[in-house]
């Protein structure tokens, strides 16, 4: 993969995703363009049906756009086949899901090790990286616990460790606090901020404006279109205005 300083890490260029529903065509994402630079922490926010999940799937190389071009680290990947996309996911992306998505019958160590096995990392290096990332999330003493022996917050930290283990270019978090109580949610969010400070690129997908507002940059989607691209502070101001407009006096 060629390193190119002039390219953004993530670049959406006029991306549309169209589903055919019988006779009519539905635009899940409609002509969306944006760039995310290396080291950014961006929240993509929107109501359900806004197209944020489709955006996440495309960013995460789980899906390809119908129209437009998607550059990941300068490489146009919208024409890739299944296995090429899997390779990109394994090497460049780390997923954190709302439901943690740990494999129940594998222990903490084996769950974190999985992406490294698929990336054919040699055994010794695997061991180092798994232990490193488990230490990073503070779960080094739970190495041989099964997922169901851990609390929700701990499971989410395991899934973050799994995302970190592969040393990804982008950490892609889909509603990472959605299944957690508010305190644990805050802790997880604080952890993402820390990872951001350490230089990781983080894309967080959420429907919760309050959470999105904590990110340095917010992209807001509505009806498949990009309607806001602003800083977290600006987004907070807008929210306040919105609330004042909505709130009865």
């Amino acid at each position: 993969m060629q390193e190119n300083r002039h390219h953004a890490l993530i670049e959406f260029s006029h991306i549309s995703k169209i589903y055919e529903m019988g006779e009519s065509e539905v635009y899940a994402v409609n002509n969306v363009s944006f760039q995310i630079q290396k080291g950014e922490f961006v929240a993509i926010v929107g109501q359900s049906g806004s197209g944020k999940s489709t955006c996440m799937n495309i960013i995460g190389a789980l899906d390809v756009p119908t129209l437009g071009e998607y550059f990941l680290d300068g490489q146009e990947i919208s024409g890739f086949d299944d296995d090429e996309l899997a390779d990109i996911r394994g090497k460049m992306l780390g997923f954190v899901f709302q439901q943690y998505n740990l494999i129940a019958k594998l222990d903490v160590y084996e769950n974190v090790e999985l992406p490294l096995i698929y990336a054919s990392v040699p055994e010794k290096q695997r061991r180092e990286r798994v232990m490193q990332s488990l230490e990073r999330v503070g779960l080094k003493d739970r190495v041989h616990h099964m997922p169901n022996q851990l609390s929700g917050g701990q499971q989410q930290r395991v899934s973050i460790a799994r995302a970190l283990a592969g040393n990804p270019s982008v950490i892609l978090a889909d509603e990472p606090t959605g299944a957690l109580d508010s305190n644990t949610g805050k802790e997880v969010l604080a952890f993402f901020k820390e990872l951001h400070r350490e230089g990781n690129t983080i894309v967080l997908i959420t429907h919760d404006n309050g959470i999105a507002a904590q990110a340095p940059r917010v992209l807001r989607l509505a009806d498949g279109r990009l309607v806001d691209d602003c800083s977290g502070a600006q987004f907070r101001d807008r929210l306040r205005t919105l609330q004042m407009e909505e709130a009865p006096t």
Partner: protein, 391 residues
């Protein structure tokens, strides 16, 4: 992903649902065990048959005469002359006259088949002498009343005492025991040790029959068996002019026929047991399909973490193959145990065939791969987004 990793994953997933894995394997276990038991028992049976044929001597030829209007088509002297003339093909010759008779010695008595033969008889039938001598050439022309007895007869009539030199009554006539054969079978009533051999000339009188209807000859080696058969057949055809009046057969021919027969029997039985293997394979396929559906989400996760189609395919195929391989090994062990148990209960010889074990094992692995492939292919083609959101 490395193959060893894939095996480790398959083993782990199997050992975490032991009951299900066991039930999945059951079809294979039963199929493989059935194949092993049947092959071992039929193998033992045919080995028994072969060894009893071989003890008769694989170079032995037997001539049966159907007679023509009550007269013998070939006299012993003619047969002997033929043997002498073709000593390059034929080495031994003995007429065979069998008479069922009552044997008596003192108060002991028994019924036995008394066989009349030449001085070659004991050689043709594999007997060796423990004591005394065999029927001699001089006994034939003299029509001597001498008898050579098997170890069973010696035991029954002479109580394991000295038999040679004693008098034995056969249907009331007195015979002198001149020799005792070494034990050939297991000295039981049904074995080759229940035997009394007298000169055939004497036996013809005893049976009140002048006809000799059967001869045993031996070819000089296994290579001359065919030529010896041809010689006998052409000689007999010249004498009788009708193929229906004689029949020449060889032990090796009979052995071939028997082997062919047991071979067919094995194939049929293995075929039937094979149906069970097929059913076992379908069982594996069924469980693998259920397992793919149940693990849709897991497949989605694996794909999102960089698992490629072939990684997923390999995982499920190996899982199916390992399941059926373990089933195969269990089936082989159970089959061998069952074969020995059944063999000892029915007092049958058991021959475990290494080839059968190897084939049973590879067939069960093959079945796992064959029937595991389509569910695995289904799993590998799942769309990761849909799989991730599968509840």
């Amino acid at each position: 992903m490395k193959l060893t990793q894939a095996f480790a994953m398959a083993w782990k997933s199997m050992s975490q649902s032991k009951m299900r894995s066991f039930l999945t394997m059951l079809g294979i276990i039963i199929g493989v065990a059935a194949v092993i038991v049947l092959v071992s028992l039929v193998g033992g049976f045919s080995a028994d048959l072969s060894s009893s044929f071989e003890s008769m001597g694989t170079t032995n030829l037997s001539v049966m005469l159907m007679g023509r209007g009550g007269s013998t088509v070939m006299e012993p002297d003619e047969m002997m002359a033929l043997k002498e003339q073709h000593s390059d093909l034929l080495s031994l010759c003995s007429p065979e006259v069998s008479v069922s008779a009552t044997l008596k010695h003192g108060t002991a008595s028994m019924t036995a088949t008394v066989t009349g033969g030449s001085e070659d008889y004991h050689l043709l039938n594999g007997y060796t002498l423990a004591q005394g001598r065999a029927v001699a050439y001089a006994d034939l022309s003299a029509r001597s009343k001498v008898a050579v007895i098997g170890s069973y007869v010696a035991q029954e009539l002479f109580d394991a005492g000295q038999a040679v030199g004693q008098t034995l009554k056969i249907n009331g006539d007195s015979y002198t025991v001149v020799g005792v054969f070494e034990e050939l079978g297991d000295s039981s009533e049904s074995s080759a040790d229940n035997v009394v051999v007298i000169p055939y000339t004497t036996a013809q009188r005893l049976g009140r029959s002048a006809r000799i209807t059967s001869y045993t000859l031996s070819a000089t080696s296994t290579d001359t068996v065919e030529a010896a058969i041809e010689l006998l057949e052409s000689t007999l055809y010249e004498k009788t002019g009708n193929e229906d009046y004689y029949h020449v057969s060889s032990v090796s021919q009979m052995l071939d026929t028997v082997n062919e027969l047991t071979g067919t029997l094995t194939l049929v039985l293995v075929g039937i047991a094979g149906i069970s293997l097929l059913v076992g394979g379908i069982g594996i396929m069924n469980i693998m399909l259920v397992s793919v559906t149940e693990r849709t989400r897991e497949i989605g996760i694996r794909k999102s973490l960089g698992g490629k189609r072939r990684d997923i395919l390999r995982q499920f195929v190996i899982e199916a193959a390992v399941t059926s391989a373990v089933g195969g090994v269990v089936g082989i062990v159970l089959g061998i145990i069952a074969a020995y148990v059944i063999g000892s209960l029915l007092s049958m010889t058991v021959v475990i065939s290494g080839t059968a074990v190897l084939i049973a094992f590879s067939v069960s692995v093959g079945i796992g791969i064959l029937f595991g492939y389509s569910p695995a292919a289904k799993a590998s083609k799942l769309n990761p987004i849909e799989a991730l959101h599968y509840e």
